[in-house]
Amino acid sequence: MMLKILYFASVREQLGQGSEELPLPAGVVDVAGLLGFLAQRGGAWEHLAEIRNLRQAVNQEMVGRDAPIGAGDEVAFFPPVTGG
């Protein structure tokens, strides 16, 4: 069971990546933990968690950073929405 991560809009552009799949990193139990893990990659990844008004969804529901995540989940990071 892999963890699927999606990046949209300006977040996708800043990271130069739209999605990835990886095994659930050891010790990661929530969105905040995943952001900490990604920051270790350095470069743009280090600043992901600091993006102003960064939004996140787990399994296609908007959540806070304390939302739990586990293997098989789909996590997404994106800026505030601007449709309509």
Binding site: A57, F78, P79, V81, T82, G83, G84
Partner: protein, 150 residues
């Protein structure tokens, strides 16, 4: 209740006609159409690209329509939102609500577009003479959505 995300344009007349068809209890039909403006925040806009989160977008829109149906006595509602490349004057979104009476149809239609603007995962990128830019979320949209809090 119907939700669609599509690249193709939509025909407002046909969609409203379909919404009304064989529904003799409908007395009021309120609709909102959002259109790409040729200028935005003081800059000319030559084109726009709408990105979305496939899967979550449809779920978010369906959830909003369901919520509108719980809050107001509606007969039916549709939301159609386009994605991909759009030009000034192009239609972006249609929200249409049918009810027996106008008060609930107006409220539900405005609720749906306010919620869509703050909760449905779409992102606009517009091309101006100064280059391409992601459209910034508006505080006025957050305030509009906030009015509908229980």
């Amino acid at each position: 209740m119907m939700v669609r995300v599509q690249e193709a344009d939509f025909d407002v007349g046909s969609e409203l006609a379909a919404l009304r068809r064989d529904r003799p209890q409908i007395g009021a039909l309120v609709s909102f159409v959002g259109v790409v403006r040729a200028a935005s925040d003081g800059a000319g806009v030559s084109e726009m690209t709408l990105e979305h989160y496939p899967g979550m977008t449809e779920k978010a829109l369906a959830a909003m329509v369901g919520e509108a149906g719980r809050r107001w006595k509606l007969i039916d509602a549709i939301v159609i939102h386009r994605v991909g490349r759009l030009l000034p004057g192009d239609q972006i979104v249609l929200v249409a609500v049918a009810g027996a009476h106008r008060g609930e149809a107006f409220a539900a239609c405005e609720f749906l577009i306010d919620y869509l603007k703050t909760r449905a995962p779409f992102w606009k990128r517009e091309v101006t003479p100064q280059g391409a830019r992601w459209v910034a979320a508006r505080a006025s949209d957050d305030q509009a959505a906030e009015r509908w809090r229980d």
